[in-house]
Amino acid sequence: MRHIVIVGAGECGARAAFALREKGFDGEITLIGAEPHLPYERPPLSKEGLAGAEQPKYVAGAERYQAARITVLTDAPVARIDRSGKAVKLADGRSVTYHRLLLATGARPRTFPGAPENSERIRMLRTHADALAIRAALAPGRKLAVIGGGFIGLELAATARKLDAEVVLIEGLPRVLSRGVPEEIAAVVAEQHRREGVEIVCGARITAIEDNGASACVVVADGRCIAADLVVVGIGAVPNTELAEAAGIAVDNGIAVDRTLRTSDPDIFAAGDCCSFPLQQHGGRRVRLEAWRNAQDQGTLAAANLIGGAEHIASVPWFWSDQYELTLQIAGLADGAALTVRRDMEEGAFILFHLDGGGRLIAASGVGPGNAVARDIRLAEMLIAAGARPDPEALASPETKLKKLLAA
C-alpha cells in the first residue's frame, strides 16, 4: 500500500497533503501534528489574530481533509523515525508506516539563555496557545517588553499598541530589522513605532530576564532593570531538526535537502521552516527561510516529488510584514548587492532594488501604506526569477512600468 506520511501539521504539511491529492496521488495520506488544532496560519498570531480571534485561522476546515481523504492526527507528537522499518513512532506508542515521508516540522522560537521556563510573565510567540496567553496578559496600561526587533517582535509591539498596552522594545543590535532588511526601510518602520508610542531601545545588552512574581525584569548591562508586566522574547527561531538528526539524516542549519527537497534518505523529504536548501538565484548557496509562502511553495513542490517528480526549487524568497498601516514586502535576498536604487511612489511608499555586481536584479524591498508596493514587488520577483538585468535608471523611475521591463 502506498502511504505518504507527513510529520508536522503546519502551513507546509497541510499544503503538501492537499497538493498530493491535487496531483493525483491515490494512496493513503496521514498528516501528523503535535498541536491540538488542525493546521492554521501563523502570520495572524502577531497581527489581527492576536487582538481578535478566539479560534485560529485554519488553513482548511475539517470537511476539506475528509473530502480529500487526508487522515489528520492532532495532539500526536512524533517521537522517532524508524528508517529501516519505514515507520514513525508516536510519543503515545502508536506506529505509522510509510512508503515516503515528508518532514515539515517547522521551527520554534529561540529561547533566551537563563530565562525562567514556564513563567507566565516571560513568553514566546509561535502557536495559537502562545497568542491567547499573550493577549490575556495585555490590557490598556499594562506594560509589555518585547525582546528583539525582528518581524515578530515589531508586529507584536504594533498589535499591543492597538490594545493600548505600553510597549518597550529592546534590541541588542544598533537598529531594528538588521537581518535581511535595508536600513532605509528599517528606519521608516522604527519611526512609525516611535510615533505610535513604542519606546525602542537599541544596542542594549541584556544580561538576564527575571520573573519577580509581581512583575518581570529585563536586566541590561549597566544593571538597570526594565520592569514589565509581560516580557515576550522574539529573538529568532531554530529549526525542528531533532527527529531527523536522531534518525541519522543530514542536518546543516536545518534538515539538509537537495534542490528537489530530498534529504540524505531518498524516501524522506523535508520542506518549510525546518529545512535548508540550495537557493538557485544565489549560486546554490544553502539557506533556510522562515516565510509563509516558502512553506506553501515547498509543500507543493514536495508533493510533486514525493510521487516521483523531479522538480527543482525555483521560487524567489518572498516575505511580507504588517505593522500599523504599513506593509513591508521583500522579494529575493539583498545580501551581496553591489548597487541599490530607490523608486519613490505615492503616499511615501518606496522600493529599493538591489542589483549584484553583474547588474542582475537579486532583491527588491518595499514599504508603504496598505498594498502600495505589492504590485511592483511582485513584478520585481518575476524579474529576479528571470535573471533579468534591468536598467537601474528605469527601475528608479516611477514612470517606467515594471511590466514593460519584464516584457523586454
Binding site: 499544503r15 506553501q296 518572498w318 511580507w320 498594498n371 505589492a374 504590485r375 511582485r378
Partner: protein, 105 residues
C-alpha cells in the same frame, strides 16, 4: 433577477492587462481589461482576507491578490489555489459608446 447596468468609466481608463477598483452604493468591485481587450468584473475583495484586488497584478486571465498572492481567474471567478479557496463572484460587463458598464444584481 433584475440587474441594472452601472457605468464604471471610459473604456480607455483601464490599461490592457490591468484592473481598477470601482465602488458603488457601498459595494466594491474590480473591473478588468484582458490582454485581448475584453472587459470583466468581479467582487472587489479577495476571499482570503478582504483585500482590494485592484491593487494586485493582472497576468493573462489571472488576478493575483496583492496581500498573499492568492490567484483567481477573473473571467470565471475561480480560485486558483492556496491560500484562496473560495471563488469570486463575477458580473456581466458591456462596453457601449466608449464606456464600461457592469450589471449589478
Amino acid at each position: 433577477m433584475s440587474s441594472n447596468w452601472v457605468e464604471v468609466c471610459a473604456a480607455d481608463e483601464i490599461d490592457e492587462e490591468d484592473v481598477i477598483r470601482f465602488d458603488h452604493e457601498g459595494r466594491t468591485f474590480a473591473v478588468y481589461r484582458s490582454p485581448d481587450d475584453e472587459y470583466f468584473a468581479t467582487d472587489g475583495l479577495c476571499t482570503h482576507e478582504h483585500i482590494h484586488l485592484a491593487d494586485g497584478l493582472v497576468m493573462d486571465d489571472i488576478i493575483e491578490c496583492p496581500k498573499h498572492n492568492g490567484r483567481f481567474n477573473y473571467k470565471t471567478g475561480q480560485a486558483k489555489g492556496a491560500p484562496v479557496c473560495v471563488n469570486l463572484r463575477t458580473y456581466p460587463v458591456k462596453v457601449e459608446a466608449g464606456s464600461v458598464f457592469i450589471a449589478i444584481s
